[in-house]
Amino acid sequence: MDVRLSDAEKVFIIHGVQEGLRNDGRSCGDYRPMYVERGVLATTDGSSRVRIGGTDLLCGVKCELVECEDSSKETNRLEFSVDCSANASPQFIGRGGDAYAEELSDALHFAYDNERSIPDLAKLTLSPNHFWRLYVDIVILQYGGAIIDAAAVAAKAALFDTEIVEVVTRQADEKKMTIDLPQGHLTWKLDVKSAPLISSITKIGSTNVVDVTLGEETCSFAALWVGGSVQKAGTEPLVTMTRQAGGGSLDAASINDMIQMGVNAVGRLDAKLMERLAAEETTIPGQTFLA
């Protein structure tokens, strides 16, 4: 499923982007409609499904109780992984599926790797010998562009959906702590209001564009992934990550513009996502595929 365009088709796209009218009628700052659902998997503690254009992602969050010598030495509380499903793999021929998946999980890790993203992350540390590790696993079911944007949305939505079991710590032998389950099944959730989102800003010709389709992608050599975290509702996101994607180079002046656009996009994505997450009730696992 190699998306190759002719020179004439590329010229048409590049001129269009310059004029602010893309092939599907969107302007340079428009995202395609995005569908987000929560509670779509039965085997995880939190899950989400995100679709945008031809892109389809599943995200599952699993909480693992880790026992160790010294929990202050183990700093990884969130582990991200991205996998390309068998169904999407023909679409990855020529894109280097596994390597690309690693780039995505790496970017997510970096975007989250600071104290501002999840302010109550410390609650995951239960004792000097115990902590919760959250595995955030993303599976790409179909590839249609804007993957990193969708992946970050999926991760945030799944984390929002994640219920962590309430446990009790108490003293045990040899000055160590032990973990017990309290009476009744209680759960709590992390505060993910400031969890970061990522927007990929692609440069086509000399214009910056969000959410490129596969065809538009072939007209560009360079893109910038901008990760941002909204600290306070209504304010501009704090940049937590920038990463260059695609093989081409960008000049310094471009980068500033692209970062600004990325920050704006993240702010808008975040506002809409939080609105959506507030509205949704969890669906029955599997229902999302049968509708």
Binding site: L5, D7, Y35, G234, K272
Partner: protein, 308 residues
């Protein structure tokens, strides 16, 4: 800094539509639940006495068994099973839009979404001056000057080979290399074979409807004696035309998503009925279903009027 600077970015995040496109149309009552007899692979279609087996069937113990999921068609004594979806099965005379995938010795391989790549022989194209007919080592390099990997062409099916692969030709002024435009791929079963597949639409753009499901939207139809060899890549298409083309591509997509047959009448109906929406709104599932539904009703109403 304030969110006022967010002007310029538009995001829409929602819950998915309650039913996916084709079913959405059914709910609104626009699908006729015709009593078409469907069979699935393995179903017995009839006995073999007096019948000949066509595509989509095989014989076993004196019975004709379906190999495809689809509807049973009988023409005289020939029984075939016509699948709903399948890879494009070309026939001689079909107009197709295809993408060049390989340049070989004296021929190009073209992807027409068939089961095998199609061939376009060097001897089957119109070129300036006939210079490329020389049998020399420079042939392949010069062939690339005309068509290379990624280029789109409109062509006609000249021949169907034994293995089912198609041989194409562009030896007619209306065929050849395609210039600037938008390409949309839809399932080939939605394309009906008609008298004309090249249309200059009244809205101010043109479409080439390939029987193979590949629809090409262009600013205008061109007839080049050199098969489109000379292309002006500097040309800038006007914003107005571009906007019409974007709307047309949205219309073709929404028709395909709702399993509505794609031909000039349905495309123009969708175009007109989408007038009070922005072209980019056609990406919205609810808007798309609304327009598809209006198209079906309009065309049906016109058909009934004609009958009366």
């Amino acid at each position: 800094r304030n969110m006022a600077t967010l002007a310029g970015i538009r995001v829409d995040i929602s819950s998915p539509p309650s039913s996916a496109a084709p079913a959405a149309l059914e709910l609104s009552g626009d699908r006729d639940n015709a009593s078409d007899q469907f069979v699935i692979p393995g179903n017995a279609v009839s006995t073999t006495t007096g019948f000949m087996r066509g595509h989509g069937t095989f014989t076993r113990d004196g019975e004709l068994i379906a190999t495809l999921a689809g509807s049973v068609q009988q023409v005289n004594r020939l029984i075939t099973v016509k699948p709903v979806k399948s890879r494009y099965n070309g026939e001689v005379g079909d107009v197709v839009v295809g993408r060049v995938v390989d340049v070989q010795q004296k021929r190009w391989k073209v992807d027409t979404s068939s089961r095998l790549d199609s061939s376009l022989l060097l001897s089957s194209v119109n070129l300036p001056g006939g210079e490329l007919r020389r049998k020399s080592v420079e042939d392949e390099l010069m062939m690339r000057d005309y068509l290379k990997e990624g280029d789109l062409i409109s062509a006609e099916v000249q021949q169907v080979q034994h293995d089912g692969s198609l041989q194409l030709h562009t030896r007619n002024l209306k065929y050849g290399k395609l210039a600037q435009g938008i390409s949309v791929q839809v399932p080939s079963y939605l394309i009906k074979r008609r008298k004309a597949h090249f249309h200059s639409l009244p809205c101010g753009a043109a479409v080439v409807i390939g029987c193979n499901g590949h629809v090409w939207i262009a600013p205008e139809l061109r007839e080049d004696a050199d098969g489109g060899y000379n292309q002006d890549l500097e040309e800038v298409i006007s914003l107005e035309t571009r906007s019409i083309m974007a709307r047309l591509s949205g219309c073709v997509r929404l028709l395909a998503a709702h399993c509505v047959a794609i031909y000039d009448t349905t495309i123009m109906a969708a175009f007109e009925l989408s007038a009070n929406h922005k072209a980019s709104d056609l990406l919205n599932a609810a808007v798309a279903t609304e327009i598809a539904s209006l198209v079906v009703r309009k065309i049906r109403a016109e058909a009934t009027e004609e009958e009366l």
